[in-house]
Amino acid sequence: MKRALALYAVAAYAFLHLPLLVLAAFSFNRSRFMRWEGFSLEWYQAAFSNPQLMEGASNSLLIAAIATILSTAIGVLGAYGLWRRRSRFLSASLYLSLLTPEIVTGVSLLVFFQWIFRVLDIRLGMHTVILAHVAFSIAYVVVVILARLQTMDATLLEAALDLGASPSEAFRRVILPVLGPAVAAASLLAFTVSFDDYVITSMVAGVDSETLPMAIYAIARRGSSPVLNAISTLIVAGLGFLTLASERLRRR
């Protein structure tokens, strides 16, 4: 029985990992066809000199960086607030936001922004993308931080208060340092989620704020391209590394 399970597991892991590994392998293929014609980095060079991809990358990095900072800060405070005092609205809306299909979130934000913009006369652009990213990232941050808070010794907070610290001082001097690794893990998670988002971003991005996933989607829709293989491998490696780091931090 154990043998059978192990064999099955190998097959299952192959299923889960081979597609990306194959993609990575062919990104180093000199030929653009399925024949292997030698190792080459030319597609990586092509990716870095592709203006659409590079502009998308820089937009994505900028958006992800800003959205991460905002959603981490708001999320950590929100998680702490929830830990101390229940709030049905906040819990429910966070939970619901994780459950809502991305397409629904995307269209609802599009409609909402258009509705507001009739009053305020702004267009869709980087700022709307950032706002959207902050909105959907917060739930991820809260989940990570709340989980850590719940395993933390609750008397640490009481001890700090007992020794004379006010609630905000106790948060700053005791809770936050103890949460440290979890905050780092949550921010890496928020960055990953933001950088990779296509569906919501595509609905609320303006003409001049194309992100990397949007650029990739456009190319993928037209067919395959080895340049896409290259950039994909880079992204998967990068985000995979961030995710690993985040998991490591979360377990500290």
Partner: protein, 275 residues
């Protein structure tokens, strides 16, 4: 206002304005009428919801259920043995778990693209099949419901494996030994001890896979070939090319209602803790 009460406010404000309010707006729009230039106009109506019952659109809804259902079932069948393997793995459990989860957190879009790369007419699979002479012409592996289901299983398998693993892990090996000691054979043990204990995990995993699959957009869009395969595609279409916001809003709300309803009914029974 104490510090602890204030902490919640930034998050609450963001959720109120950037989550709840937008949902409120599309809820309102779902009862309005499509405007001449693509916006919305006054007559309040229930037509949009009625249209969903129309065979044309109703069939999309049914197909979404069908695809999501098959994908979920496949996830269960494929995920259960894997979860069993990990639960019995001893010291390497965390490593094996990580190997399941890690791909999910890289890039969803790229993972779908990977399957496009493999399955298209000039893709790897067809190239191998042609080269080895198994087929004369490339097989149309891509741009059909099967490819969508494959993509969904590939994408959401971890969401089935995790709860199953959690439920299996809780199962005390001693219980299994006790059952065997009392005379039960392996298949009996599985049926009478393992399966009931794992049931909450199965429920949780089913919900965690089915609901996202039902609302899938990107997977059917790329692997289904741009046709309107599932509800998610229908909705996206209404807000872009078709410009029928009220109808799209109605479809969105129905999709959400189904998801929330399923979740609510699932958490009525126990197993909520696994979620």
């Amino acid at each position: 206002m104490s510090f602890e009460r204030l902490c919640r406010w930034p998050a609450a404000l963001v959720m109120a304005f950037l989550f709840a309010a937008p949902l409120g707006v599309i809820a309102a729009y779902s009862f309005l009428t499509r405007g001449a230039y693509g916006g919305v106009e006054h007559p309040w109506t229930l037509d949009n919801y009625a249209r969903l019952l129309d065979p044309l659109y109703g069939s999309i809804l049914l197909r979404s259920f069908w695809i999501a259902g098959v994908a979920t079932a496949l996830c269960l069948i494929c995920g259960f043995p894997l979860a069993m393997f990990i639960a019995r793995a001893g010291r390497r459990k965390n490593l094996y778990l990580a190997l399941v989860i890690l791909p999910f957190w890289t890039s969803f879009l790229i993972r779908i693209y990977a399957w496009m790369f493999l399955l298209r007419d000039t893709g790897l699979v067809n190239t191998i099949l042609l080269a080895t002479g198994w087929v004369r012409e490339p097989l149309p592996l891509l741009y059909n419901d099967g490819a969508v289901i494959l993509g969904l299983v590939y994408g959401y398998l971890p969401f089935m494996v995790l709860p199953l693993y959690a439920a299996l892990e809780r199962q005390d090996n001693l219980l299994l030994e006790a059952a065997a000691d009392l005379g039960a054979r392996p298949l009996d043990v599985f049926r009478r001890v393992t399966l009931p204990l794992v049931a909450p995990g199965i429920r949780a995993g089913t919900i965690l896979v089915f609901i996202p699959c039902l609302g899938a957009y990107l997977t059917p869009d790329l692997l289904g070939g741009g046709r309107t395969v599932m509800v998610g595609n229908l909705i996206q279409n209404q807000f872009t090319t078709a410009r029928d916001w009220p109808f799209g809003s109605a479809a969105s709300l129905v999709l959400m209602a189904i998801g929330v309803g399923l979740l609510w009914s699932a958490t009525r029974k126990e197993g909520a803790d696994i979620l």
